[in-house]
Symmetry: C2
Subunit: 275 residues, 2 copies
């Protein structure tokens, strides 16, 4: 593992590291914030999964999470959103290929050799982080934004017991019914149907989530028609899933929105990660 | 004035606007955050002056100020750091020309027609803002980072009574003795001597500041030798200037540092701006 940078931040350290990834078959870069408490003990870990076009850097710079994580004694990890580099398959469309891994394991050419973000985020990267840093692998939670909110919700429901709590900012909730989902499932997995196990509304209908759950989405989100929030709302209500779906008046899809409610999300996860 | 963007943010609005500037002879862009309180009354205004290479955008995205400003009921303005555009004089050096206005009025060719950031920030932009938004021109304070810290300190001491409080993050404190100052004063003003009225340590020695004053600088700042912090420390101590100069252990020059202490800076200004 190579250290790209380390900056003192809210009494802790905001680091950026890179490493050769088996899952993705390329070098991968991630950000990791360690709170001051990590100097003395292993701390819980909150995953922040970013959205389309993002790298490890966007949320790390703009989500305003580190201050609240420092107070709560929680580490934050900011993975990249796809494999990346000159030798990696890509597409003209910003919503497919590099920057658009959709947190799944591709089965189709030309994506299959590298586009394995599900394995990368749920298996390889946690092992790398818990081996190298003062992080408690028994206490993990997950959040994310847009495509990363999709990743957070599908991982939390798809791996029962792995994450103590889940939250999302303007998540893609029903990708099997969306242009942010259908073309990607067809390309990466061969069919929309093959993506059903990566559809948060379907997972909510069939499985739900045991633990605190919070979703925030803005009422002025310009991508509202792509997110499928009504399907998730209906699935939560029908299931009787404990949790909060908050429609935030006047907010859009930007990191200004994410930062505005980060305090609430960190508080939810801190409570779940405490014990 | 043209609206570039407006995003809901911490219950208020983060806007970006552009306008034709008389002082700079070009179009200028600025960010303005209005807290929720501005819906009901004119609110106080805190200036954030940015550093070398920055535009209006850096602090707006990365300083983490909006949340605290929303709570305190304070507007934030993020001006650009120089005139900008194809027809504007520039230099190869990142520390001279566009992105490096040094918050002064240039007297020398080719800079004089456009590089008038002192007039722009202290006169033209405040008039534009107070005319168009619910901002109380009688209650203003100023902060900034690096070259913007220099701007904040020199404007606060150079215009007694104008700003109720002043703070700075890793400011350039003694530019007449620094490579971040001497070449710029020579280019913009014709001599280093002509820049003495823009040297915060000299202003501190001769005038001081009446009101709350806070300076934070990291002990691991890679630009320490260019900042002149010891000269400012000595000048404050010799004068008996009430105020705080804090050397923050382990912090560098980045916005991770700025964000880490933003809460304290907003609290200081909020207290001064309340009445």
């Amino acid at each position: 593992m190579k250290t790209i940078s380390e900056n003192r931040c809210f009494g802790g350290v905001q680091g950026v590291y890179s490493h050769a990834s088996d899952a993705c078959g390329c070098d991968m870069t991630f950000g990791l914030f360690l709170p001051p408490a990590a100097e003395h003990r292993a701390v819980p870990l909150l995953w922040f999964l970013a959205g389309l076009t993002c790298t490890h850097e966007n949320a790390m710079l703009k989500a305003g999470a580190q201050g609240w994580a420092a107070e709560a004694g929680i580490a934050l990890v900011f993975p990249d959103t796809s494999p990346r580099g000159a030798g990696i398959a890509n597409a003209e469309d910003f919503a497919l290929g590099q920057g658009a891994g959709f947190y799944l394991n591709a089965t189709q050419a030309p994506w299959a050799p590298n586009y394995n973000m599900w394995d990368y985020v749920t298996d390889e990267l946690p092992r790398i982080i818990t081996a190298a840093f003062a992080v408690d692998e028994e206490r993990q939670s997950v959040t994310g934004h847009s495509m990363g909110g999709h990743g957070a919700l599908t991982m939390a429901m798809g791996m029962p017991g792995r994450f103590r709590s889940v939250s999302a900012f303007s998540p893609i909730c029903n990708p099997t019914q969306s242009d942010w989902g259908r073309p990607q499932f067809e390309a990466y997995l061969g069919s929309v149907q093959a993506g059903e196990s990566h559809d948060a509304s379907l997972l909510m209908t069939h499985y739900g989530f045991e633990g605190p759950l919070l979703i925030d989405t803005g009422t002025r989100d310009p991508f509202a028609s792509l997110l499928g929030t009504p399907a998730m709302a209906e699935a939560m209500a029908t299931r009787g899933q404990p949790g909060q779906l908050r429609l935030q008046g006047g907010y859009d899809h930007s990191y200004f929105f994410v930062a505005s409610f980060m305090r609430d999300h960190i508080a939810l996860h801190a409570e779940a990660l405490r014990a």
